[in-house]
C-alpha cells in the first residue's frame, strides 16, 4: 500500500509539472516528450488520476481538521497527530473516490458528446474549491439553531455551487447519485460500528452529510474536467494538424 502510494505521489509530482508546462507549449509546433506523454491516453489517465487522488487526500485531511471538534490546548501536543486524527483509511478512501469522480465526469461528458464548456478555466476551478472549503467551514464552525436549518442551508449552498460552477444536468445527476451512494455507504459503516458521530441526528449519521458529499462531487468533477481539458486540447490540435 505504501509503495503504491509513494509511486502515485511521485507521478503526481511529475504530472503537475507537465500540466504546468502544458499550456506554455501548446503553440509550439514541436512535440517534445512531454506532449507525447500527455497525449498518450493511458499515461494521461494515470497522471490525472494521481493528481486527483492527491487533491482528494489533501482536501480530506484539511477538512477533517475543520471538523475535528476543538479541544484547544495552548501547546498543541502534536500537530502531526492532529492532522491524522481520523482513521488511517479515510484519506485514501477520499482520494480514491475523488480520483474516480474526477475521471468519471469527463468520461461521461465525452459519452454525451461535447465536453463541458461552461467556465472552463483554472480561476473558476479555484473559486469552486474555495467555495467548497467554505461550505465545510460553515458546517463545522457556524452555530445553527437546529440541524434542519443546517441541512437546508448546506443544501442551498451546494445547489448554489452547482449552479455557479457547473450547470450541467449530467453533473447534477451524477452528483446527487454519488452523494446518495456515499451517504448509504457511511450509513452501512456506522451500522457496522466502524465509526460513529459525536452527535448523530438522522439515523446515526449527520443529516448534512449528503450536501457535503454533493458539493465535493461537484468540485472534484470540476477539477477533473479541467484536467481533462488538456488532453482534449491536444487531441484537437493533432486533428487540426493532420
Amino acid at each position: 500500500m505504501s509503495l503504491t502510494l509513494t509511486a502515485m505521489s511521485n507521478s503526481a509530482g511529475t504530472g503537475g509539472q507537465q500540466e504546468w508546462s502544458g499550456p506554455g507549449q501548446t503553440p509550439g509546433p514541436s512535440r517534445g516528450p512531454y506532449i507525447s506523454v500527455i497525449t498518450n491516453r493511458t499515461t494521461n489517465l494515470l497522471i490525472r488520476g494521481a493528481m486527483l487522488f492527491s487533491v482528494g487526500v489533501f482536501l480530506s485531511l484539511v477538512l477533517n481538521l475543520l471538523q475535528v471538534q476543538r479541544n484547544v490546548t495552548l501547546f498543541p501536543p502534536d500537530v502531526i497527530s492532529s492532522i491524522f486524527s481520523s482513521a488511517w483509511w479515510v484519506p485514501p478512501c477520499c482520494g480514491t473516490a475523488s480520483a474516480g469522480i474526477g475521471l468519471l465526469y469527463p468520461f461521461i461528458d465525452r459519452r454525451l458528446g461535447e465536453p463541458h464548456k461552461f467556465k472552463r478555466e483554472w480561476s473558476s476551478v479555484m473559486r469552486c474549491v474555495a467555495v467548497f472549503v467554505g461550505i465545510n467551514h460553515a458546517s463545522a464552525k457556524v452555530d445553527f439553531a437546529n440541524n434542519v436549518q443546517l441541512s437546508l442551508t448546506l443544501a442551498a449552498l451546494s445547489i448554489g455551487l452547482w449552479w455557479t460552477f457547473d450547470r450541467s444536468r449530467s453533473g447534477f445527476g451524477l452528483g446527487v447519485s454519488i452523494a446518495l451512494l456515499a451517504t448509504l455507504a457511511t450509513q452501512v459503516l456506522v451500522y457496522n460500528g466502524v465509526f460513529q458521530y459525536t452527535s448523530p441526528d438522522f439515523l446515526y449519521i449527520r443529516s448534512w452529510l449528503p450536501c457535503i458529499f454533493f458539493a465535493g462531487v461537484i468540485t472534484m468533477g470540476n477539477i477533473g474536467r479541467q484536467l481533462a481539458l488538456y488532453e482534449y486540447k491536444f487531441i484537437q490540435e493533432k486533428t487540426h494538424q493532420d
Binding site: 474555495a130 467555495v131 467554505g134 452555530d143
Partner: protein
C-alpha cells in the same frame, strides 16, 4: 421580451456614457474614488485590532463577582485565580556580601509560605483548610520533567521563589550560592515567553532585584497562590500580620482577565489552505489579463479593487452600527472569492478587444457597454443568491451575507469608477507608446514584391545609409562576463548588500524592542493608553470596559504616566524600580551616583499593577505546565497584599551593561556589514562613478545610472595613419581594412592593431601612374599562366537564382537542424562539386583583367569588403578591385560595370556588388593554384575546404562577372547583406529583394527571419523563405539607421536617437533607450547580452537584458565632435570603430577571459 430589450439598451447606453466620462476625466475620478474609499474605511479606525489577546475587566470589589456582561459567558468552569503579590524589600549596607544580601529577604518567603499554608479558612459552614480553597493541580505536563523539581505537583498551585529550594528552609540555608541556583533554571538563549524565573518570582526578572548588581536596593518577589474559590479571610489575615507602611495601594478592585481561544497550528492549517486557494484563484485570474501595457499594474488594480471594496463594506457596516463578530481572517478569503475578480477581467477583455484605431474614450465606452448586460446580470444573480443566504436566519451567515452584499455593491462601484479609469489610463499609455501608428499607416505597408511604387507625400532627402538590413550578427558565441564579475554585478545591481544591512538593522532593532531592555514598550503602551479613553488613570474604581478592548500585557495605565519622563531608547533602570520612589523628583534618569542612604519603601500604584509587566503569556504558560488551558476562561487577579521586610542590598549595573553592549554590537554589526559591502561591491555609485563616467565630459550625460565598471577594464587602441576621414571599414576577424576619403587603403592586424599594408604604399605618390613595384612584380607571371587555358566557362553554372529545386543535393540528416550559419557553410562545402573541374580553368576575362590590372586612383572607394586575405574594393567608377591584403598587391580588376559600386558582399567565392543604378552584379573569384598544389586540392574532396578561402601569393586570382541583374532596383541600392546563401538588397525604391545564391537546404521547420528598417521608422520582420511579413512595428520617429539581431531580439536605432529593443518572435518592444542627440547611429552586438553603440567620440556598452549602461569608452581626448559612424564587432570580441581619421580598436577583456 421587449422590456428586457429596452432595459438592455438603456443599461448599455448608460455604461457607454459612463465609460466616456471615466476615460475623459481620469484624474478627478480616481481622486474621488480614493476619497470615497478613505471615507468608507474611516469607521474602521474605531474597531479594535483583531487578535487573541486577553481581555480585561475590572470589577470593583470587596466581593468577588464574575463580570456578567461578557458575551460568550463560558465561565461555568472553575478557574478564578487569586494572586497574592508580596514584595519583600530590603535596604542594606554596602558592606554586605552581595550574595548574602538576598538571603534574608528570600528567607522570609518561607515563613510567609508557612503562614499561607497553615491558614485555615473558617466561615459559617465550618472550617476549611487552604487545600480546599486552592486550585489543586496534578502532574506536570509530560515533557517538562526538568521543571519537576521546581514546580509544585499534586497539591495547591502555590508558586514562590521558595520553589527553587523545594520550599524547604534547610535546603535554602545550606545553599552556598543562591543566585547560581536561580540561574541554573534559566533557559539558554533568547526566551520569548515567560521564563521560570518570572513564574516563580511573579515579577519580571529585572524588577526582582535579585542579581549581582542591584542598584535599587530592593528585592521584590511575589508568592502566587491560585485559588479556585474566592476567599477573603486569607487576605485579611495576611494584611493583619504584615501591616505595611507607606501603602497607597487601592485594594478595592480586582481585575478579571478573559483569555480567548488560542489559535493552534492545527487550526491554522485550514486557514492557510483557504488562503493558498485564494492566491491561486487570484493568480489564475490575473494571468488572463492580456494585451495591455502593464499587466502587473492592472492585476494590482484588480486586487486593490476587491480588497478596498471589502474594507469599504466593513467600514460601512460599522458605520451603521453593525460590529463584526466574525473572525475576519477566516471569512476574508470566502468574501474575496464570492465577490470575485471576474467582472474586472471581463471588462478588461472587452475593452481590449475593441478596435485599436478608435479613440481611447470610445474604446473604453464601447468595451463597457458591450459587457454591461452580462455584468448587470451577474451582479443581480449574485445579489439574489446572497439575499437567499440572508434568509437562512443563521446569525453568522446573515452577517456574512450582509458583508458580502455591501462588498458587492462597493465592488461594483469601484469597478465602474476606479478600475475603468485605471484601464483607460493604461490603454492611453499603450497608445502613447506607439503614437505614430496612425501617421504613416499607408507608408508602412509596402508590398514585399516589387510593385508599382507608392508616391510618398514628402520624399525625404536621400541619406547615405538610411536603411540597414541585418541578417544575423557575425558572431554568436558565448561571450559573457566572468562569473565572479557577474555575481558582483548582480549584488551591486540589486543593492543586495545595502538591503542586507537594512534588514539586519531592522531585525536587530526588532530584537532590541522585543527584549525591551529600556521598557520602551511599556512606555509606548502607556502613551497609547493615555490617549485612549481606556486609560483612566485617576479613578478609584475603573468602570468595566464594555467594548471588550483587548489589553495586552504591559498596558499599565496607572503606574507609568508620571514615571516615564522621556521616551529614551537607552535603558533607564530606575523607571520601574519598585518600592523606593521618593516622589516625582526621582523620576529622571539616574546615572551612576549612589542613591540616597536609606530608601523609603513605598507601595505605589505601580506595584499593584506589577503583574501587568509580565509577559502576556505568563498565566497561560503557568497553567499550561499543568495541561490546563485558559482559553475561554477568566483569571481574576486579586489585589496585591504588600509585605515589607527590611534588610540590605546593593547596586545593579546590568541594564546599562546590556544596553551598552547591545548598542556596541549593533554599531559593530553595521560597520562590519558596511566593510563587507565595500569589499564586495566594486561598483561606484554616485560621485565616484561620475568621475570617470560620461558625465565628466559635461555635455554628454548618456548614462542614467552614473556608474560604470572600473575604467581599467576597457581601453581603446587608436590606429592612426589615415590622413582623412575614414570612409569604409571591413574586417574578417583577423585583418582589418580601412579606406579613407583620400583613397588610401590600410590593412591592420585586428589583434594587435599593427598596420600591415598600405595601399598605395606610403612612398608612392597617388598620382604616380606606374609606380607600383608590386604590380610589376606580379604581372609578368600571369600571362604565361593564363594564355593556354581552355575556355570552359559554359561549364560553370552561374544561374544561381533560377536553379530548379530538383537540383538540390540532399544533405546528410545531421545537417538538418543546424542553424542558418551552417547552411551557409554547407553551401561552401558544396561549391566544389560543381567547381572541381573549374578550379583549373581561367576565364578569359580573368586573363584580360590580369594583364591590365591597374589601380584606379581617380575614383574614390565606395565599398570595401575583406575576406581571407583578399580585399575587394568597389569604386565610384564602377571598378571592382581585388587586392592582396598582406602584400598590398592588386590582384585583379573588373571594370564591367559602369555605375559606381555602392555595396559589396563576399559570399564564399562570389562577390556581389550593388551599383548605384540599381543593378546587382555577381562576380566569381577564381583561384588558380599553381599546378603542384592543384593535386592536393582536387583529391580530398569537399569536406576539407575551409569556408573562407585563403589565398596564397602564388595563386592567380581572377574575378569574373558571372551574372548581372540589371534592374534589380529602380533606385540606388543602399544596403547589401549576404548570409546563408542569400543576398538581400535594400534600396531607396522601398523594396527589399532576396536573391538566392546557392542551393543551401534549409530545414522546412526552420525559419529565416529578416529584419528591415525603413525611413518611415518602421521595422519589419520577414520570413525569408516565404516572403511573408511576420511583424511590422513602428518604433522611431525618423529613419531607422541601424539594425542588429540577436537570437532573441532585434535592436534598432533611429534618427531620433532612440535605441529600441524588440522581441524577435513577437515583435513587441521590450524597452527603448533614449540617447541624446548624435548618439547611437551605429550598433553592434558583442554577445547575446552586450550591445555596443557609437556616440560622439565614444562607444557605449549596454547590458541588453536590463538596458543598463555598462560603460562608456572615450576614444580620444580632443575630438568630441566626431561621431562614430561605423562600428564593427570582430570575432575576438573586439570592436573597431572609425573616429575621424583614426580607427579605434576596443577590446573587451572581460569577454575575452570568458572565451579562453
Amino acid at each position: 421580451m421587449t422590456l428586457r430589450e429596452r432595459l438592455r439598451e438603456k443599461i448599455s447606453a448608460a455604461f457607454y456614457r459612463h465609460g466616456l466620462l471615466c476615460a475623459s476625466y481620469p484624474v478627478p475620478i480616481i481622486l474621488f474614488t480614493s476619497a470615497s474609499i478613505l471615507t468608507c474605511c474611516y469607521p474602521l479606525l474605531r474597531l479594535p485590532l483583531p487578535g487573541t489577546g486577553p481581555v480585561e475587566f475590572t470589577t470593583g470589589g470587596r466581593d468577588y463577582s464574575v463580570p456578567s456582561h461578557e458575551p460568550q459567558g463560558d465561565l461555568g468552569e472553575r478557574p478564578d485565580w487569586q494572586v497574592l503579590v508580596k514584595a519583600a524589600v530590603s535596604p542594606w549596607d554596602s558592606s554586605l556580601v552581595p550574595v548574602d544580601v538576598f538571603r534574608s529577604p528570600l528567607s522570609r518567603a518561607f515563613s510567609l509560605l508557612e503562614e499561607i499554608r497553615n491558614h485555615v479558612h473558617s466561615d459559617g459552614s465550618g472550617v476549611r483548610s487552604l487545600e480546599s480553597l486552592c486550585l489543586q493541580v496534578t502532574d506536570l505536563f509530560p515533557g517538562l520533567r526538568r521543571m519537576q523539581s521546581v514546580l509544585p505537583e499534586h497539591g495547591c498551585l502555590l508558586v514562590s521563589p521558595g520553589n527553587y529550594w523545594q520550599n524547604q528552609q534547610e535546603l535554602f540555608d545550606s545553599d552556598p550560592d543562591l543566585l547560581k541556583t536561580i540561574q541554573k533554571h534559566e533557559p539558554k538563549g533568547l526566551s520569548t515567553s515567560a521564563t521560570l524565573r518570572d513564574l516563580l518570582f511573579g515579577v519580571p526578572g529585572k524588577y526582582t532585584g535579585v542579581s549581582h548588581y542591584n542598584r535599587k536596593r530592593v528585592v521584590t518577589y511575589t508568592i502566587t497562590i491560585v485559588l479556585s474559590t474566592y476567599d477573603a479571610s486569607l487576605r485579611s489575615r495576611l494584611k493583619q500580620l504584615h501591616p505595611s507602611a507607606n501603602c497607597s495601594l487601592r485594594d478595592d478592585h480586582m481585575v478579571h482577565v478573559h483569555f480567548k481561544e488560542e489559535i493552534g497550528i492545527a487550526e491554522l492549517i485550514p486557514l492557510v489552505t483557504t488562503y493558498i486557494i485564494l492566491f491561486a484563484y487570484i493568480y489564475f485570474s490575473t494571468r488572463k489579463i492580456d494585451m495591455v501595457k502593464s499587466k502587473w499594474g492592472l492585476a494590482l488594480a484588480a486586487v486593490v479593487t476587491v480588497l478596498s471594496s471589502l474594507l469599504m463594506s466593513v467600514g460601512l457596516c460599522t458605520l451603521f452600527g453593525l460590529t463584526p463578530t466574525l473572525n475576519g481572517g477566516e471569512i476574508f478569503p470566502y468574501l474575496v472569492v464570492v465577490i470575485g475578480l471576474e467582472n474586472v477581467l471581463v471588462l478588461t477583455k472587452s475593452v481590449v478587444s475593441t478596435p485599436v484605431d478608435l479613440e481611447v474614450k470610445l474604446r473604453i465606452a464601447q468595451g463597457l457597454s458591450n459587457e454591461s448586460w452580462s455584468i448587470m446580470k451577474n451582479m443581480a444573480t449574485e445579489l439574489c443568491i446572497i439575499l437567499i443566504g440572508y434568509f437562512t436566519l443563521v446569525p453568522a451567515i446573515q452577517e456574512f451575507c450582509l458583508f458580502a452584499v455591501v462588498g458587492l455593491v462597493s465592488d461594483f462601484f469601484l469597478q465602474m469608477f476606479f478600475f475603468t479609469t485605471v484601464l483607460s489610463i493604461d490603454i492611453r499609455r499603450m497608445e502613447l507608446a506607439d503614437l505614430n501608428r496612425r501617421l504613416p499607416a499607408e507608408a508602412g505597408l509596402p508590398p514585399p514584391k516589387p510593385g508599382p511604387l507608392r508616391p510618398r507625400e514628402a520624399p525625404p532627402p536621400p541619406r547615405p545609409s538610411p536603411h540597414t538590413i541585418t541578417l544575423q550578427t557575425p558572431a554568436f558565441r558565448n561571450l559573457r562576463l566572468p562569473k565572479r564579475l557577474r555575481v558582483v554585478y548582480f549584488l551591486a545591481r540589486t543593492r543586495l548588500a545595502q538591503r542586507i544591512i537594512m534588514v539586519g538593522t531592522v531585525i536587530w532593532i526588532g530584537i532590541l524592542v522585543y527584549t525591551d531592555p529600556a521598557g520602551i514598550r511599556t512606555y509606548l503602551a502607556a502613551q497609547v493608553s493615555e490617549q485612549s479613553p481606556l486609560g483612566d488613570p485617576g479613578g478609584g474604581a475603573l468602570p468595566p470596559h464594555l467594548g471588550g478592548a483587548p489589553v495586552f500585557r504591559g498596558v499599565d495605565p496607572t503606574s507609568t504616566l508620571s514615571i516615564h519622563p522621556a521616551p529614551d531608547p537607552t535603558p533607564l533602570p530606575d523607571n520601574h524600580s519598585q518600592g523606593h520612589h521618593d516622589g516625582a523628583g526621582r523620576a529622571g534618569p539616574l546615572p551612576q551616583p549612589p542613591p540616597p542612604a536609606v530608601p523609603q519603601i513605598t507601595w505605589g500604584p505601580e506595584d499593584q499593577e506589577g503583574w501587568r509587566r509580565l509577559s502576556f503569556r505568563h498565566w497561560p504558560s503557568l497553567f499550561s505546565y499543568y495541561n490546563i488551558t485558559l482559553a475561554k476562561r477568566y483569571i481574576s487577579i486579586l489585589p496585591v497584599i504588600p509585605v515589607t521586610v527590611s534588610a540590605d542590598l546593593q547596586t545593579d549595573l546590568t541594564l546599562y551593561k546590556v544596553a551598552a553592549l547591545g548598542l556596541a554590537a549593533g554599531v559593530l554589526l553595521v560597520l562590519l556589514l558596511f566593510c563587507l559591502y565595500r569589499v564586495l561591491c566594486p561598483r561606484n555609485y554616485g560621485q565616484n562613478g561620475v568621475s570617470h563616467g560620461r558625465r565628466r565630459r559635461g555635455e554628454l550625460p548618456c548614462d542614467d545610472y552614473g556608474y560604470s565598471p572600473p575604467v581599467s577594464e576597457i581601453s581603446p587602441l587608436l590606429l592612426r595613419g589615415h590622413s582623412m576621414d575614414i570612409e569604409c571599414l571591413a574586417s574578417d576577424g583577423m585583418l582589418l581594412a580601412s579606406c579613407c576619403l583620400a583613397g588610401q587603403i590600410r590593412v591592420w592586424d585586428a589583434q594587435t592593431g599593427d598596420c600591415l599594408t598600405v595601399i598605395p604604399r606610403q612612398g608612392d605618390g597617388l598620382s604616380e601612374e606606374d609606380g607600383f613595384p608590386l604590380r610589376r612584380r606580379s604581372a609578368p607571371s600571369r600571362p604565361t599562366l593564363f594564355t593556354d587555358q581552355p575556355d570552359l566557362t559554359p561549364l560553370i553554372d552561374t544561374n544561381f537564382a533560377s536553379q530548379p529545386p530538383s537540383h538540390l543535393c540532399t544533405p546528410p540528416p545531421s545537417h538538418l537542424c543546424t542553424p542558418p550559419r551552417d547552411g551557409f557553410d554547407f553551401g561552401g562545402l558544396r561549391r566544389p562539386s560543381g567547381g572541381d573541374a573549374s578550379a583549373s580553368l581561367t576565364p578569359e576575362r580573368g586573363s584580360a583583367a590580369g594583364t591590365q590590372a591597374t589601380a584606379d586612383w581617380e575614383s574614390s572607394v565606395w565599398a570595401l569588403e575583406l575576406r581571407g586575405n583578399l580585399i575587394a574594393a568597389g569604386r565610384s567608377s564602377g571598378k571592382l578591385e581585388l587586392w592582396d591584403a598582406v602584400e598590398g598587391s592588386l590582384r585583379c580588376v573588373n571594370e564591367d560595370g559602369g555605375s559606381g559600386i555602392t555595396a559589396l558582399a563576399f559570399l564564399n567565392n562570389r562577390i556581389v556588388a550593388a551599383r548605384l543604378n540599381g543593378s546587382l552584379d555577381f562576380f566569381t573569384v577564381e583561384i588558380n593554384k599553381p599546378l603542384g598544389l592543384l593535386q592536393y586540392r582536387g583529391a580530398p574532396g569537399r569536406g576539407t575546404m575551409p569556408p573562407s578561402p585563403c589565398y596564397s601569393s602564388e595563386d592567380v586570382i581572377s574575378c569574373q562577372l558571372t551574372r548581372s541583374v540589371q534592374c534589380a532596383h529602380q533606385k540606388p541600392i543602399t544596403v547589401l547583406r549576404a548570409a546563408a546563401g542569400r543576398v538581400v538588397t535594400g534600396s531607396q525604391d522601398h523594396t527589399v529583394r532576396i536573391y538566392r545564391l546557392e542551393d543551401s537546404v534549409v530545414h522546412p521547420k526552420k525559419t529565416m527571419v529578416l529584419a528591415s528598417g525603413g525611413q518611415d521608422g518602421a521595422i519589419c520582420l520577414w520570413d525569408v523563405l516565404t516572403g511573408s511579413r511576420v511583424s511590422h512595428v513602428y518604433g522611431h520617429r525618423g529613419d531607422v539607421t541601424s539594425l542588429v539581431c540577436t537570437t532573441s531580439c532585434v535592436i534598432s536605432s533611429g534618427l531620433d536617437d532612440l535605441i529600441c529593443i524588440w522581441d524577435r518572435s513577437t515583435g513587441i518592444k521590450l524597452y527603448s533607450i533614449q540617447q541624446e542627440a548624435g548618439c547611437g547611429a551605429s550598433l553592434g552586438v558583442i554577445s547575446e547580452s552586450l550591445l555596443v553603440t557609437g556616440g560622439q567620440g565614444c562607444v557605449s556598452f549596454w547590458d541588453l537584458n536590463f538596458g543598463d549602461l555598462l560603460q562608456t569608452v572615450y576614444l580620444g581626448q580632443s575630438s568630441d565632435g566626431q561621431g562614430v559612424r561605423q562600428l564593427l564587432v570582430l570575432d575576438n570580441a573586439a570592436i573597431i570603430c572609425d573616429f575621424g581619421s583614426e580607427l579605434s580598436l576596443v577590446y573587451v577583456p572581460s569577454v575575452l577571459e570568458k572565451l579562453d
